[in-house]
């Protein structure tokens, strides 16, 4: 049976009783209810239409934007900001207008029903009627409408329309993005380089017709094992490690290319770089030193530039973990574990534990050095080194001092390997007589110390006399020789006094006077005093005294008393010989014993010197007594004043002001000045350099550079000062 169009089926009747309008006038949520389906369809269609309208409006709005963007790309006018403003205005109109229209012309359920009826004639306008029908009519029509499967196909088509509208809108938005893309802007690339990111080849600028095409790349030093990277001469700043080479190559146009280079702070200006040519192809290499360098390339059509900020290779950092502190040990056979770490920004080439063993004291030290755990070659950035120090194998003795540290070198082939060292640990083996204290008050200077310089001076005087002997009269030689001999005799007696004082005898054993010293003695007394005491006798007496002291002190074989007195007695002997030779006016014969005497005194000093940490004795000089008693003539040279140092900050600010004036009159020259200023500011005034970088980027793209230039002026010209820095009287006339 075929149901009449407007007769409800029993199923439809049964189901149609349930849907009722909700209190808010909307249909109950029944997916099979035609009203609900119509409402949903109307919403879907409304969205699709709104989006489509917006997309169409944007497409129309895009037209002038595209024209302006093309003009910006090709001609450089209008500016990017201008294009952006037009795009924003037209885009806003394109969005607002259809939305406002959409608000007035909403898609109603009737519209949706009509749209369905056009696609589904079998409904015979029942759906349209249903949309506006009274409840009574609705009950009659619903079964008929339900009988026709209209909703699913209609919803599918509506969704397709929505997708189509979205695609259109996406295309319009993409068109806007394309028009606003920074075609002439490369400061982003420069910023990426500043961050250390590699420059993609796409960053290379599009050249105007006739400009010489080039390729440029930065070649880091081989030891860094870093890859080459292409760069563009786009007025930006790139960072490169010191020693990097900038290689620029071109296939043609060598005759037109002028390449100049200027280092930061170079007052001589830019210097030309010679091109290596082969036929039409050419190549140039610029080496990056420690200073930032600007590279300027001109080919008659364009001028390109690049600033390379040199980054120094950092010095390796080393630390010694073991031993963690200085060590004092009496165990001369101990083994000491050593462990350290080193780090370098590029890589360690050599890491080793170094030791220095110092033996001796006083004026005579011997040092041995060695290494442990050496690692060489191309190592990692982080290297650990360890080793064991065997004191027994080193043959250390009490009194020795070992210095240990970790030394790490990088592979810097530009400046030479740079050394980084850890703190040094000191391993000390104390002397047996030193006790546990390392803060022992030092003895006052020994009387022996006062002798050594005197003996050395007498030796010098004698040598000088021997050298002049041939040119002097015999009488003069005799007189001078005896004068030195008298002083030698006095010194000998002083040494004798020291010996006897130490051995417990009285200094009177050696009379402290000498002929002509002003003291009066009778002839018998003099004869008794001058009676020569043989060195053997003195030596015997000294050794006798030494034996007594040795028993008392019980320091073993190497007591200081013995150690000091033996060489002093030798010195005494030698001085005796020297005295005799000098008194006999034979200075040449005196030199050998005098040298023996100096050496012996030196040994005596070395024997008694201990390295003790403490306060040395304070020697008071009687200033008032000796003031201006010197007889040597002095004459100070007049000095040239140091050149006045210009205020670097003020100079930069002045240069910036001049560059700004120039920029207004001759933009290209002004831009060049700003580039050079940026170069000089890179190291000393990084804030200024960054502001200038932004300004140059804006100028290169034709954008508004005012803000960046204001920042540059602020950075260059203004320095807040503390209150107490106010000049005292600088602003006032009295």
């Amino acid at each position: 049976m075929t149901a009449t169009p407007f007769e409800p089926s029993p199923l439809a009747t049964a189901s149609s009783a349930s849907p009722r309008p909700s209190p808010r006038g909307t249909l109950r949520d029944d997916a099979s209810d035609p009203h609900v389906q119509l409402a949903a369809l109307a919403r879907l269609l409304g969205r699709a239409r709104a989006l489509r309208l917006v997309a169409i409006a944007l497409a129309w709005a895009l037209l002038p934007v595209l024209v302006l963007a093309l003009s910006h790309i090709v001609l450089g006018v209008p500016s990017r900001t201008g294009v952006a403003i037009v795009a924003i205005v037209t885009g806003a109109i394109g969005i607002v207008t259809p939305i406002r229209r959409g608000a007035r012309q909403r898609v109603t359920a009737t519209d949706a029903a009509l749209w369905v009826e056009r696609a589904e004639p079998r409904l015979r306008y029942a759906l349209v009627t249903l949309a506006d029908a009274s409840p009574a009519e609705r009950a009659r029509l619903e079964p008929f409408v339900r009988a026709v499967p209209w909703h699913a196909p209609a919803a599918t088509i509506a969704r397709a329309r929505l997708r189509q509208s979205l695609t259109m809108l996406g295309a319009a938005v993409a068109g806007f993005a394309l028009a606003l893309w920074p075609w002439r802007e490369r400061s982003d690339a420069g910023a990426a380089i500043m961050r250390g990111a590699p420059v993609p080849p796409s960053a290379i600028a599009t050249l105007p017709p006739g400009a010489v095409a080039i390729t440029a790349r930065l070649v880091p030093p081989a030891y860094t094992r870093a890859p080459d990277r292409p760069v563009a001469l786009d007025g930006g700043v790139v960072e490169a490690i010191e020693g990097t080479r900038l290689e620029i190559e071109g296939a043609a146009g060598a005759a037109r290319v002028v390449l100049r280079v200027r280092e930061a702070g170079d007052t001589a200006g830019a210097r030309a770089v010679t091109l290596e040519r082969s036929d039409e192809a050419w190549r140039a290499v610029v080496r990056v030193g420690a200073q930032p360098v600007a590279v300027l390339l001109a080919d008659g059509i364009t001028e390109r530039s690049l600033t390379i900020a040199a980054r120094p290779d950092s010095v390796p950092e080393a630390s010694l973990d073991l031993p963690a502190t200085d060590v004092v040990t009496r165990d001369t056979t101990a083994t000491i574990a050593l462990r350290g770490r080193a780090h370098d920004d590029i890589g360690i080439a050599d890491a080793r534990l170094e030791w220095i063993l110092t033996t001796g004291g006083g004026e005579q030290f011997a040092a041995r050095t060695g290494v442990l755990g050496a690692r060489t070659g191309a190592l990692d950035r982080d290297v650990a080194v360890q080793g064991t120090l065997d004191l027994g194998a080193l043959g250390v003795k009490p009194g020795d001092v070992l210095h240990v540290r970790l030394a790490a070198r990088d592979g810097n082939a530009v400046r030479g390997a740079q050394l980084g060292t850890s703190d040094t640990r000191v391993i000390r083996i104390p002397r047996s007589d030193e006790g546990d204290s390392v803060a022992v008050e030092q003895l006052p200077p020994s009387p022996v110390d006062t002798s050594v310089i005197s003996q050395r001076m007498l030796l010098l005087l004698t040598e000088r006399l021997v050298a002049r002997q041939r040119t002097l009269a015999r009488d003069a030689v005799v007189a001078e020789s005896r004068r030195i001999g008298a002083q030698q005799g006095r010194l000998r007696r002083q040494v004798g006094a020291v010996i006897f004082m130490r051995t417990g005898d009285t200094p009177g054993g050696e009379h402290a006077h000498f002929a002509g010293d002003g003291h009066d003695h009778t002839a018998s007394e003099l004869a008794q005093l001058q009676q020569p005491r043989t060195p053997e006798a003195v030596l015997k007496a000294a050794e006798r005294a030494t034996a007594i002291n040795a028993t008392l002190d019980d320091h073993g074989d190497e007591t200081p008393v013995v150690a000091v007195n033996r060489p002093l007695l030798e010195a005494y002997n030698a001085m005796w010989d020297a005295s005799r030779a000098l008194d006999g006016a034979e200075p040449a014969s005196a030199i050998a014993p005098m040298r023996r005497a100096v050496a012996a005194i030196q040994r005596a000093r070395a024997a008694e010197r201990l390295y003790l940490r403490g306060a040395p004795p304070a020697v008071l000089v009687d200033i008032a007594k000796i003031r201006l008693t010197g007889t040597d003539s002095a004459r100070a040279d007049a000095r040239t004043p140091l050149p006045a140092r210009p205020d670097a900050g003020a100079a930069l600010a002045t240069r910036l002001d001049r560059a700004l004036v120039l920029l207004a009159r001759v933009p290209r020259a002004g831009t060049d000045s700003l580039r050079l200023l940026r170069l000089d500011a890179l190291a000393a005034r990084p804030v200024l350099a960054r502001a200038l970088d932004d300004a140059l980027g804006a100028l290169a793209t034709g954008a508004d550079a005012t803000t960046a230039l204001q920042r540059a002026r602020r950075a260059a010209a203004l320095v807040p000062v503390r209150g107490d820095a106010t000049p005292l009287w600088s602003t006032g006339a009295p």
Partner: protein, 448 residues
């Protein structure tokens, strides 16, 4: 028998004579008390009108008021009322009073400009200017010069500007203030004379680092002196001279003529004791005062750690800085030139042992001292004086930077009145006249 009319005078005359006698004795007693008791006049209030400082005191007591003001013990607050924007000369005088140790209580009844700006060249080898922006604390002020916008700042602030173009403009809340920028270049060559010592070494270093060209004559031995550059003080060559001590007498003898001719002199410590400098010094050197141990390392008052030879200022001198009641720096004009006398000794300790910025602060301080007196070219000097005295476009900014902003009050503050104090001379006259009158009356009564 006398009539009643005759008897009346005879009865009244002794009474009057007794009264006069009592008055005379009382007046004499009060006079004696007044003479015995020291005066305790309060520091008179000061009123500022343009470039004048007006003492708020009765006409007859003006001299005493002035003497009290000048001799007021450091530490006593001076009440200063502004009748309007003060001229630079008045501001600097107030600053000198403040520098001598008198706290200033500034008041004004006049409304102040919302913002003010002043730009002045910092005299010295560096081409820089100081930029003062005054206004309510926290006010955002936009600063620009002839070359364009410079910065936005929070007032009040003080800046060192390395390069400014002709005119500085400040804007805030629709208010605009302008100030011209002076560009006058002084001479930059300085002669340092003294003994070879750490002070000479570090003064020379500080000045050279600040950009001055330094010649030096340093005494080392009776026949030996270290000479650097031109050591003959020459008005055509040197802008200023620094005498560190009494050494180098040839230079000391030349200083008076040099200053008279427009040169500047910085006299340090005991140098002012030299007989050759009696005519130009700002004051006599006093007894040396030890610095506070370790204070040179402080950030706030590093000069408190230095030894001080106080300046006992003369009539012509203006105190610039004081320490613990003693004048540490004073200045004086001598004909065409200027002299600043510095009591601090061994400022090198500040540089070596001071806080982190001590070397820079020491450098700035010495450079400012020299710049304050350095000779400027004759023509520019005239122009500068005119500019400074009459064209201070931002008096309030200068005032704020120099001694602070005044407190606005509803009405001018009444000056503090001195407590009544009898005038001894007047009392003496009264006593004499009274006693004389009593004597005459008694005589008349006796005769009658």
């Amino acid at each position: 028998m006398p009539s009643r009319a005759d008897a009346a005078p005879r009865r009244t005359l002794p009474t009057i004579a007794t009264a006069l006698q009592a008055i005379g004795v009382t007046a004499a007693a009060v006079c004696a008390w007044a003479l015995a008791t020291p005066a305790s006049s309060p520091v008179p209030a000061v009123r500022v009108r343009g470039d004048s400082l007006v003492l708020d005191a009765p006409l007859g007591r003006m001299r005493d008021a002035l003497a009290t003001l000048v001799a007021a013990a450091p530490g006593e607050t001076l009440q200063v009322t502004l009748d309007g924007a003060p001229a630079l000369r008045a501001t600097m005088t107030l600053r000198a009073l403040a520098g001598a140790g008198h706290p200033l209580a500034l008041r004004t009844a006049a409304p102040l400009p919302a913002i003010a700006v002043a730009a002045r060249r910092v005299e010295g080898p560096a081409a820089s200017a100081s930029l003062v922006v005054a206004g309510d604390t926290g006010t955002i002020v936009a600063i620009a010069d002839a070359a364009g916008a410079l910065d936005s700042l929070r007032a009040p602030t003080l800046l060192r500007a390395a390069s400014l173009a002709s005119l500085v403009v400040a804007r805030a809340h629709g208010v605009r203030a302008t100030a011209p920028v002076h560009t006058i270049t002084p001479g930059t060559r300085v002669l340092v004379a003294g003994r070879a010592g750490w002070e000479s070494r570090f003064v020379i270093a500080a000045l050279e680092e600040a950009g001055w060209q330094v010649d030096a004559l340093l005494d080392v031995a009776p026949t030996v002196a270290v000479r650097q550059g031109s050591t003959q003080l020459d008005s055509a060559r040197h802008a200023a001279v620094i005498a560190l001590d009494g050494a180098a007498p040839a230079v000391l003898r030349a200083i008076p003529d040099f200053v008279r001719g427009g040169g500047g002199a910085v006299l340090v410590g005991s140098a002012a004791a030299s007989g050759a400098l009696l005519g130009v010094r700002a004051g006599a050197p006093g007894a040396r005062v030890r610095g506070e141990a370790g204070a040179e390392a402080s950030e706030d008052e590093p000069r408190h750690g230095l030894d001080l030879v106080p300046v006992v200022t003369g009539a012509r001198a203006v105190p610039i800085e004081s320490r613990d009641g003693a004048i540490a720096i004073a200045a004086a004009r001598h004909v065409a030139g200027r002299v600043v006398q510095v009591g601090y000794e061994d400022s090198w300790r500040w540089r070596m042992a001071g806080a982190d910025d001590a070397p820079a602060a020491h450098r700035r301080w010495w450079s400012a001292l020299v710049a304050g007196v350095a000779r400027t070219p004759p023509l520019a000097h005239t122009v500068r004086d005119v500019l400074h005295d009459s064209l201070d476009a931002a008096p309030v900014a200068t005032l704020a930077a120099t001694i602070g902003l005044p407190r606005v009050v509803a009405a001018p503050v009444a000056p503090a009145r001195a407590p009544w104090r009898p005038e001894p001379r007047l009392l003496a006259v009264i006593a004499l006249l009274s006693l004389a009158g009593a004597w005459v009356l008694r005589r008349l009564a006796g005769v009658a």
